[in-house]
Amino acid sequence: MSVLPIVIVSFVVLKVFVGLPDGDIACLSGEDVDTFRVTIIHLGEGKEEKIEEGTHHGNPVWSPDGSKIAFSLKMGSGGLQIGVYDVVSKSLQVLNSSYSWNDEPTWSPDGKYLAYISCEKGLVDQKLMVHNFEDGKEENWGGEKLPSVMKPMWFPRLDVLNAMSATVTQVTYAEGFNLEKFFEEGYSLGVLVGVAVIRTASSKLSTELVLISRTQTTTLPKELMAESLRFEEYAPQVSPKGSSMAFESNEGGDREIYYLGRRGISNITNHTSADWNPVWAPNGEWLAFESFRSGRRGIYRVYPETARVFPMVVSADFDAWSPTWAPDSKWICFVSNKAGKPQLYIKSIGSGNEIIQITEGAKHLSPQWRPKIK
C-alpha cells in the first residue's frame, strides 16, 4: 500500500472541511494495457492499494458485500483468467477455467457464484461460465441454445420471473425453451441477462438480449422485442430492484438507451448523437449514461419513467466517461481527460458544475465504487 500523491491528500483535506464522500473505488491504473493493475482508491485514508499479481488487468467488479473484487488478468504466458481479490485478507484467488480467454466477470446477488464469458476466439464462441465458490467448480450455463454471449449480468431479484409467470400465456419464447425448467433453475440458482451474438440467415452477426438460467436460454419474448434481429442491442443493465432493465440499441438509426419497464419498451435518451453505457444509481431512481450530444463524450442522467435528461459532466474542452455511482446515489466517480491523461474525478449530483480530481500520475480508468458494506 502506498501513499497517494498530492491530489488525494488535498482531497482528504477537502473532505474534512467540505463534507466530501467517503468510501473506496476500484479502478485500473497504469500507462497502457500491459501495465494496467486493479487499484483501490481509499478516499477516507488518502491511500491507494494496487494488486500487483498478474498483468493486463481488466473489468474490475465488486462483490455485492464489498469484500472482494473480481477482474480479468493474465498470469504468465497464457490467456486471460479470472482473479478474485479478497480486500480483507489481501489475497488473490485465480479461478481455474476450461478455456483460454475469460473476461467480464459478474457476481450473483448472494455472492456465491461468479459468471463470466469464456472462449478461445472471441465474439462468436463466447460461453457463459459460472464458478461456484462452494464447490470450486466451473459450469457452462445457458444450454446448447446459447450460441455466443457477452455482457452478462445477474438479476438482483427474481421479480422478472414473477412477471413472466404472470404473463405466461401471452408471450412467445424461443423455440425449445423449457419455461418450467427455467423457473425451477431461476428460483434456486438465479437468472442472468446477456447479449447473445447470433449468426443470421445471411451469415451476418447480430445481437439479441437473452435470459439465461443454468440449462435454459430464451430471447426476450417477441411481444416485447419484435424484429430485434434488425437491431444490435448491447449493455443490458438490470435495475437494482430487478423489476426493470435498461439497454442500448441502434434501433432508430443511432445508439440509444431503451428502458424496459411496466409499460413496455421506450427510448429514453432520444437524440441524433450516440447515447450509450447506462448505469443505474443504487437507489434505482436514475440512470447515468454517456452521450456525444454536446460534441464530446459527456455524462448525463435520465429519469427513466419520464425520459427527462439532465447533463452531469459536459464540456467542449474534455471528455468524461465510465460513470459509477456512490452507494448513497449522491455522487458519481468518472474518468476524464481534462488534465490531459485520463484520471478519476468525482462530482456531487446536486451541486453545480464542480468536479474534483482524485487521482494523478499514471492513467486511472474504469472506476467501480465499492457497494455499501453489509
Binding site: V33, K121, G122, V124, A274, F292, G340
Partner: protein
C-alpha cells in the same frame, strides 16, 4: 533541456560550416523523438489544398513556418489556443501564396528553441474524384543497415512506391520488430525517403513502452483525401482496442465528422474478434465504415475474411512488406479497386 539546446547549437554550427543536408537540421530531438512539435509529423502528416486550414499541436507557443525543399521559409499566422493538457494548438489558414508540394513544419519557441518536422505538410493544387494510394504493412525494421533483409526490402518497396502513381501511403503497423528507440529511429530515417505523404499506425510489435508515441505521437487520428475519410485507429495491444481508454471518444467523433464522405476507410494493424465492442459498434455496426485496411497476418485475406462478420465492411489485407509486398488501390465514384499485389522480391 539545456543539453538538448547545446546539441542543437552544435549541429547548427556544423551545418553552417559544412552545409549538411536538411535532414539533419534541428529536427526533433537528437535521438529522433518528437520535440516541440507533436502534430503534424512524418507519420501523421497534414494533406491540404490551398485555402484550407489545419492544426498544429505543440509543447510551446512560438513562431510557425512552412519550409519547402529548398529551405525557403513561409511564415504562418496561427491562432493559438491553450489546451487543458498543457499543450498548445495552432490553427493555421493556408493562403493562396503557398505553392503545392511537400513542406516541413518549423516552430521557433518563445524560448528560442527551434524544432522541425520534415515531410509533415503536403499542399495539393486540388483533389480529384479519382485517385490512388499505396498500402504497406508489417515492415519489421530491426536496423538502419541495408545489409539487413527487412531494411533492404523496405528500401526497394519505397523506391517502387515512389515511382508509382500512388498519391499517398498507408503503413499499417509493425513498423519495427521490437519497438525499441533505435528501431523507431531507423524506421523514421527510411520513412523520410518517401516522396509522398505517409500515414502510419502502430502494430503489436511496436508496443514497447510508449516509444511509438515518442516518434509519432498517436496511432488514432483521421484525415480526408478527396471526397473520402480515413479513420486510423490503434489495435496494437494484447486487449485489442480496449474499452476503457480514450480511443472510443475520438473514434466515434471521427466517424460522425466523416459521415458525409463518399467512402470511409478504417485503417489499422489488425482486426480480431476480441477487439473492444465499443469500437466495433462505432465503426462496424451502427454506422459501418465502407472499407477496412489492415495487415498483421502476413498474407492476403481469404474470401471468408473479405467482409467483417457484422456484414457490411469490405476488408483488404496486405501481406508483409518484409516479404516484399505492397498494394496500390484505385479509388473513384464506383468504389475502391485493389490492384494486383506488387512484389519487389
Amino acid at each position: 533541456m539545456r543539453n538538448t539546446i547545446l546539441k542543437k547549437i552544435f549541429i547548427t554550427a556544423i551545418i553552417v560550416i559544412f552545409g549538411l543536408p536538411p535532414s539533419l537540421s534541428l529536427a526533433r530531438n537528437v535521438d529522433g523523438t518528437l520535440s516541440l512539435i507533436k502534430l503534424p509529423n512524418e507519420g501523421v502528416p497534414v494533406v491540404v489544398a490551398k485555402g484550407q486550414d489545419f492544426k498544429v499541436l505543440t509543447e510551446n507557443k512560438g513562431e510557425l513556418f512552412l519550409v519547402d525543399g529548398d529551405g525557403k521559409k513561409f511564415p504562418l499566422q496561427p491562432l493559438w489556443k491553450s489546451l487543458s493538457s498543457g499543450k498548445w494548438e495552432a490553427k493555421v489558414w493556408l493562403s493562396e501564396a503557398y505553392p503545392p508540394g511537400a513542406y516541413s513544419i518549423q516552430l521557433i519557441g518563445d524560448n528560442g528553441e527551434v524544432d522541425t518536422n520534415f515531410r509533415s505538410v503536403w499542399i495539393f493544387e486540388g483533389f480529384y474524384e479519382y485517385y490512388t494510394f499505396a498500402h504497406i504493412s508489417d515492415v519489421h525494421i530491426i536496423s538502419m543497415d541495408s545489409s539487413n533483409d527487412n531494411t533492404a526490402t523496405f528500401e526497394k518497396v519505397i523506391n517502387r512506391v515512389n515511382s508509382s502513381d500512388a498519391q499517398f501511403v498507408l503503413i499499417t503497423g509493425d513498423i519495427t520488430h521490437n519497438g525499441s528507440i533505435e528501431e523507431m529511429k531507423a524506421f523514421l530515417k527510411l520513412l523520410n525517403k518517401f516522396v509522398k505523404p505517409t500515414f502510419v499506425c502502430a502494430g503489436n510489435h511496436d508496443r514497447s513502452s510508449n516509444n511509438y508515441e515518442l516518434f509519432f505521437y498517436t496511432s488514432t487520428y483521421a484525415f480526408r483525401f478527396s471526397k473520402d475519410g480515413y479513420i486510423v485507429f490503434d489495435s496494437r495491444e494484447y486487449r485489442v482496442a480496449d474499452p476503457w481508454d480514450e480511443q472510443d471518444n475520438v473514434v466515434y467523433r471521427y466517424r460522425r465528422e466523416l459521415k458525409p464522405s463518399r467512402w470511409v476507410f478504417g485503417v489499422t494493424h489488425r482486426y480480431e474478434y476480441t477487439m473492444g465492442m465499443r469500437l466495433q459498434l462505432a465503426l462496424f455496426v451502427d454506422d459501418p465504415v465502407d472499407y477496412l485496411l489492415y495487415g498483421h497476418i502476413h498474407r492476403e485475406n481469404t474470401k471468408e475474411e473479405s467482409v467483417l462478420p457484422w456484414g457490411k465492411t469490405t476488408v483488404f489485407v496486405v501481406p508483409a512488406c518484409k516479404d516484399g509486398y505492397f498494394r496500390v488501390y484505385d479509388v473513384g465514384e464506383g468504389g475502391v479497386f485493389p490492384r494486383e499485389l506488387t512484389s519487389v522480391k
